[in-house]
Symmetry: C2
Subunit: 198 residues, 2 copies
């Protein structure tokens, strides 16, 4: 079965754009999606940045806001930038990994993105996360307990190592089953088409 | 008449992709193109980079080569990375500005891009430039003479100032007649559609 790995950081606004459309598009091409959260922070720090490049390079940051605004409007989905960007997405990443074990990673991921970028809430905040998870799952307590486990913490760290080994330097990224790498929401179509042809 | 400004650096490979398709696409939407060369160097230096970000960030550079390779293959156009990247595009930029006065900027621009990215030649080299211009224009000597004039040098410097004022931080970029900015070959469709609706 063709499968594409979708690498995302819960604080990444372009990843939000992909998360909200990847399922329908992949299904139409007979491709399954492996949802793979990871943290951009360590990857950005390795490039010498102490924050998102959208903060390090203000002209790029201003452009990005407008670009995502236009794309969201064209796709008729809401977009609200959180006041503090990027959010601390460590807990959110562990939570979606914990939800994966219950088969709920897609639903919980989309609920957290909706909080962060459709409502502009701070997903680094525990109460925001809890409300988002509760809107998508009836296993809130189990997910939060598992998110704090050593296994989930290790799994997230291992994801970061695999991301770097795959050549990933930003999010969203997509890797096909032959290792081919695609970067950016605007490469989603190409990535799915690539995987479908393998 | 709707018109879109196409900002490009002759050493930019993603700008090459746009230069080879912008005319047909713009014509189909009733939009005219203003070809506007500028230099990325000063803009990159203002961001603290002493070279292309594709050299400063090696993972991004490796990805870019593969990404452009895939896009060129899909569009059935040749793509060969020059050995030294990015080329020194100062003379090339002055030459296309000089060609503009003769109504030949599109043809000369495409000829230089073809040398640089379809054949991988060094467009910083005078003989390469001369051969490229000769393949597109019968005014080679006039163009080279004008390219060395104070007027053209000043016009190129002024273009850099206007680019920065327009919020431009990379190439290709497109600005609509209302000032709306689009960045990247993958935003060409959106830019033309935007301008066509104004």
């Amino acid at each position: 079965m063709p499968h594409l790995t979708f690498w995302y950081d819960l604080a990444s606004n372009y990843s939000y754009l992909s998360a909200m459309r990847i399922e329908a598009f992949a299904a139409a091409h007979g491709v399954t999606i492996e949802w793979q959260p990871f943290l951009l922070g360590p990857i950005f720090r390795a490039q010498g940045w102490n924050s998102s490049p959208f903060n390090v390079y203000p002209a790029k940051g201003r452009y990005m806001r407008r670009d995502v605004e236009r794309i969201a409007a064209a796709r008729q989905i809401p977009f609200v930038m959180p006041k503090d960007f990027p959010a601390n997405s460590l807990k959110a990443a562990r939570i979606v990994l914990a939800a994966a074990a219950m088969g709920e990673i897609a639903a919980v991921t989309k609920a957290i993105y909706t909080a962060g970028f459709a409502r502009g809430e701070d997903i680094g905040n525990e109460a925001v996360l809890r409300a988002a998870v509760a809107s998508a799952s009836s296993n809130v307590d189990e997910i939060f307990a598992s998110a704090a486990s050593v296994e989930v913490k290790d799994a997230l760290r291992a994801a970061g190592t695999r991301a770097e080994a795959a050549g990933i330097f930003g999010a969203p990224s997509f890797t096909a089953s032959d290792g081919e790498l695609f970067w950016g929401d605007d490469r989603l179509e190409a990535a799915i088409t690539w995987e479908a042809k393998l």
